[in-house]
């Protein structure tokens, strides 16, 4: 081969590599700046931490053709209204608990993590908690000592991770806050716990925290 065609020349591709990389990076940086206001707490898609004072639900939106979080009336977590700062401190403690206990290596959060245990994105709204009246206490009890509580029919259990009551309550706050993030319809088709104020008819036997032995 005597003459290299222009499209196969080394210098053309060197320049292309530099330009393509540079332009892609500029776009990424621009999009990052554009995205940050959506995902900051209190941003377009991510609620402020004090959303844990409200009822959170997740319903299908006909116009958008996807499920969206629905923020409702006052419904303070553990019956106590918190300021934004107090709520942030509580949620932060819960988030720290999920990291310190390495939750993500069994569960997924926002769909990311490991696949040995259920996704936690909408765990606060899961119908398996039975009734909204029992939910908070059951979640705390479950987190503190999950091992011998009923989980499922296949014998997979959550180990006791030494979660204190304070950490468990904070984790519940974190989960409630996370369930209010607008995740563009993920997970799809999720049917939430009945949170209406009418007397709940849900049978408690399906609750994972029901004090039945695992086997």
């Amino acid at each position: 081969m005597s003459q290299t065609a222009w499209w196969a020349s080394e210098s053309l591709w060197r320049k292309s590599a530099i330009w393509v990389t540079g332009v892609s990076l500029i776009f990424l940086i621009y999009l990052t700046f554009d995205t940050l206001p959506y995902i900051k707490a209190g941003g377009t898609n991510v609620p402020g931490f004090s959303v844990i004072n409200k009822r959170v639900d997740y319903q299908y939106d006909e116009a958008k053709h996807r499920y969206v979080p629905v923020i409702g009336q006052d419904e303070p977590l553990f019956g106590k209204m918190l300021t934004e700062e107090e709520a942030e401190a509580l949620v932060s403690k819960g988030k720290l608990t999920t990291q310190a206990k390495n939750c993500m290596e069994c569960h997924t959060l926002l769909g990311n993590g490991a696949y040995y245990a259920p996704d936690l994105t909408k765990a606060w709204l899961d119908p398996a908690w039975g009734s909204k009246e029992a939910r908070e206490a059951d979640m705390v009890a479950f987190l503190m000592d999950p091992t011998d509580k009923l989980h499922n029919s296949i014998g997979r259990r959550m180990p006791n991770l030494g979660i204190t009551e304070e950490e468990a309550r904070a984790t519940v706050a974190f989960l409630k806050w996370m369930s209010a993030i607008n995740t563009m319809g993920f997970p799809h088709n999720f049917k939430t716990l009945d949170q209406s104020d009418a007397p709940a008819a849900a049978p408690a036997a399906t609750a994972p925290a029901a004090a039945a032995p695992a086997k």
Binding site: S9, E10, T21, T35, V91, A114, P118
Partner: protein
């Protein structure tokens, strides 16, 4: 140079001796990864196995962290191994490189021991600093993060300074830029925030921009050197291809980051950007297949190291199928809505890491085995017809394909039962996990894992013995490359 066929470190230059240390730890950690993968896999089948002692979360943490670290060690070893050859200059800062090797290795051992023995901590920042950060792939506590960044900076300095004092080739230029990005990106994943959306946004900067961009380019550099070394492919051709790959890889991979921004609270436009650019991500991988096959064909498969070439061609194919096809398969948001966070991801992850990176590092292991025995013959007509490397390769591939396909079937079952029908609730999740389609698939995954382990054992045995007592020097290939 000592006698042919005798293992002797005197056969290596300074950079290669240091590279050899990294590659030795790399091979050992590969074994650790397999072991803990098998333990975690077994817990899917026998949930009470090691329950409360070494739980699934611990096994999987070690499994995925060993993966990241052994590949990084493999890359660093590969780069040190080729550095003096490429720069035509002894490694600058070799003493520092050696010191950092020992410090980093000691740190890795401590981190793994803490994972295994301490496991979790209280919800305090001290846990994040000293025990575990609890974020998949980058669980290492913050003290180790700082150590990793310092190590990467020393590595970057050694590579850059060596090229600067010696000569800058095309491969050198790409490598230096890439390593700078690699070290810098890690910083994006170190901060704590209570906001999970913000957390995962930056977390993906590290994970994605490492694995689907900078690592791919790094391995492209190593493969480029390998093709010149084993087949004598001309530098001009190899470097032109490398530039093409960089252009396509970064052109698709940087904004391909968007496929991780579908469901974490990020704005809707990421569905379009992520879907579009990640659909392009297989393109550079096709280019790499064409490149490897074209070069092999042009050189009529004549090369100085058959096992290394076998793994190089396997790398091209595995990267294309694992990262490219299996990635594309569930990367469009319309599909990903039902597959995100299921065994589909595990299926893709297994074949992609194996195809793109494991194969490349194993190919490099063979190059190193050849050089340490005085650059012996490793082409055709090996003793026993080279059965060990062939069977090692066959078992590793069969095991991996078995795991990948099994996990994919498990993923299908999840998408249908848990996601589409049951709507992703807790009960829906377990309805899928207990379904025979899922459990049978996980059984086959485990069996395939044992096959993979046999392949690994054969590989180690082969690497320790190949070329032993060999009296023929390496086949001479076209020497135009240097």
């Amino acid at each position: 140079m000592s006698a042919l066929g005798v293992f002797n470190m005197a056969n290596l230059n300074g950079g290669q001796k240091l590279g050899m240390k990294y590659l030795t730890v790399s091979l050992a950690l590969f074994g650790v990864q397999i072991l803990f993968g098998l333990l975690a896999g077994l817990q899917f089948l026998v949930p009470d196995f090691l329950f409360g002692i070494v739980d699934f979360s611990v096994n999987r943490t070690v499994h995925v962290n060993a993966l990241v670290v052994w590949l990084l060690y493999g890359f660093m070893g590969g780069v040190y191994f080729m550095l003096e050859d490429e720069a035509k200059h002894p490694v600058v800062g070799l003493g520092l490189g050696n010191l950092i090797f020992w410090v980093l290795t000691a740190a890795v051992v401590v981190v793994v021991l803490v994972y295994l023995l301490v496991q979790v901590g209280p919800a305090e920042m001290s846990t994040i600093w000293l025990i575990i950060e609890g974020r998949e792939y980058i669980e290492a506590p913050r003290w180790a993060d700082i150590g990793i960044v310092v190590s990467m900076l020393v590595f970057f300095y050694n590579v850059m300074a060596t090229f600067t004092k010696g000569r800058y080739t095309g491969i050198a230029g790409v490598l230096v830029m890439d390593l700078m990005a690699l070290a810098g990106l890690y910083l994006a994943g170190m901060a704590y925030t209570p906001n999970i959306s913000m957390d995962q946004f930056w977390w993906w900067w590290v994970i994605h921009l490492w694995v689907e961009a900078t690592w791919e380019v790094l391995v492209g550099c190593i493969m480029a050197y390998m093709l010149m070394e084993t087949m004598g492919v001309r530098r001009k051709i190899v470097e032109t291809w490398l530039y093409i790959e960089v252009a396509l890889m970064f052109g698709s991979g940087i904004l391909g980051l968007g496929h991780h921004y579908f469901w974490i609270g990020t704005p809707e436009y990421w569905l379009t950007i992520g879907g579009f650019f990640s659909a392009l991500e297989p393109v550079p991988l096709v280019a790499m297949v064409v490149h490897a096959l074209f070069d092999s064909g042009v050189h009529k498969m004549k090369n100085s190291n058959h096992p290394a070439l076998g793994w190089t061609v396997g790398q091209a194919a595995g990267n294309f199928f694992g990262a490219g096809v299996f990635g594309f398969m569930h990367t469009l948001p319309q599909i990903n809505l039902y597959t995100h966070g299921t065994q589909w991801t595990a299926s893709h992850g297994h074949l992609a890491f194996f195809g793109a990176y494991t194969t490349a590092v194993i190919g490099f292991f063979y190059l190193v085995a050849q050089k340490t025995r005085g650059n012996v013959w490793m082409s055709g007509n090996l003793p026993g017809n080279g059965w060990k490397w062939k069977w090692a390769m066959a078992m590793l591939w069969i095991g991996m394909i078995g795991m990948t396909v099994s996990l994919l079937i498990a993923g299908y079952a999840q998408s249908q039962i848990e996601r589409a029908i049951e709507g992703s609730t807790w009960m829906g999740y377990f309805a899928a996990q207990g379904h025979p389609w899922f459990t049978q698939a996980m059984t086959w995954r485990q069996i395939s894992g044992y096959g993979f382990l046999i392949g690994y054992i054969l590989l180690v045995w082969d690497l320790l013995t190949i070329g032993k007592g060999e009296t023929r020097p390496a086949q001479v290939v076209d020497a135009q490359s240097h």
